[in-house]
């Protein structure tokens, strides 16, 4: 049974684009984390598709996928810890409101959006 490689790879590409949109457009920090997971999943799909397609003897693609899954899990854990800390200190995890990285204007206000 044959599967055209194009389909998994295109699906991965589109999923990645969706994840990019989510990272850039969502206001809640947790939603951003979710979007990051989407992107990582797209990467995983890509890896697996190519692994099967190339019939890698070392199975590098699938192994890397497993590793990526593990790392993503760890990353979500840490990311949530940070978000919770931010919530505890600022009472908000609204990305638009967490602006202390910004340059101050002459009037001492934070920069305009």
């Amino acid at each position: 049974m044959t599967l055209h490689l194009v389909y998994p790879v295109v699906v991965a590409a589109l999923l990645f684009a969706v994840g990019v949109y989510g990272v850039l457009a969502r206001r809640n920090a947790i939603l951003v984390l979710m979007s990051v997971e989407l992107m990582l999943n797209a990467v995983n799909l890509n890896l697996v598709a190519f692994d099967i397609s190339l019939r890698d003897a070392l199975h590098g693609g699938q192994v890397l996928t497993l590793f990526t899954i593990v790392i993503a899990a760890a990353e979500v854990g840490l990311g949530l810890a940070i978000v919770l800390l931010a919530y505890r200190n600022r009472q908000s995890i609204d990305i638009d409101a967490l602006r202390t990285l910004g340059e101050e204007t002459e009037l001492g206000e934070e920069a305009v959006k």
Binding site: A17, D51, A81, Y87
Partner: protein, 178 residues
């Protein structure tokens, strides 16, 4: 289009569709739940690709652990249950443009590059699939032979993440993070 093609396309539609819903829905908890759907469809896709072990690990960890964690995060940060009007930042149009550009770019490149490539999938149950790549035994022996060092490093990474998460979440009057 072959059989697996069709199945995979349908699964792909589900994945992407629920992904879109994750990034556009107005309800926070619904986003997490749509994420589950997306992960699940993806796991099915792995199955189609005959990467069974990866599929099960996907379900186990992503659906089982990551989404739960995200739900916990949603609860702990008192996220609004129900419709929230302002879940999209002012950045959304630029984000849309970038996402569309990225998507278009990637799809174009990929289609141009891998247009006619086919992969041979083995039938489940037929004898060559005993040694098919996706089986747990094959993958396991590969991990513990060829990839054992990265595996060990990964365990250290997990330890570091564990400790870091504990330290970060201690808080309780001690604001400054050491």
């Amino acid at each position: 289009m072959t059989g697996p093609d069709v199945v995979f396309v349908l699964l792909g539609i589900v994945t992407i569709g629920s992904g879109v819903l994750v990034v556009t829905t107005r309800q926070l908890v619904h986003a997490a739940l749509w994420l589950v759907v997306s992960f699940g469809a993806l796991a099915a896709g792995y199955l189609v690709l005959t990467a069974e072990f990866v599929a099960w690990v996907q379900v186990l960890i992503y659906v089982g652990a990551v989404v739960v964690l995200l739900l916990f995060g949603i609860m702990l940060t008192r996220a609004p249950i129900g419709r929230a009007a302002d879940l999209d930042s002012g950045n959304r149009w630029a984000a849309l443009a970038v996402a569309v550009a990225t998507g278009a770019l990637l799809v174009t490149v990929v289609v141009i590059g891998f247009h006619g490539v086919r992969m041979e999938l083995c039938d489940p149950g037929s004898s060559p699939c005993e040694a098919s790549a996706g089986r747990a035994g094959v993958l396991g022996s590969s991990i513990f032979r060829t990839w054992v060092l990265p595996f060990e490093v990964l365990s250290v990474l997990l330890l570091a993440a564990l400790i870091g998460a504990i330290v970060l979440s201690r808080g309780n009057g001690r604001e400054a993070v050491e």
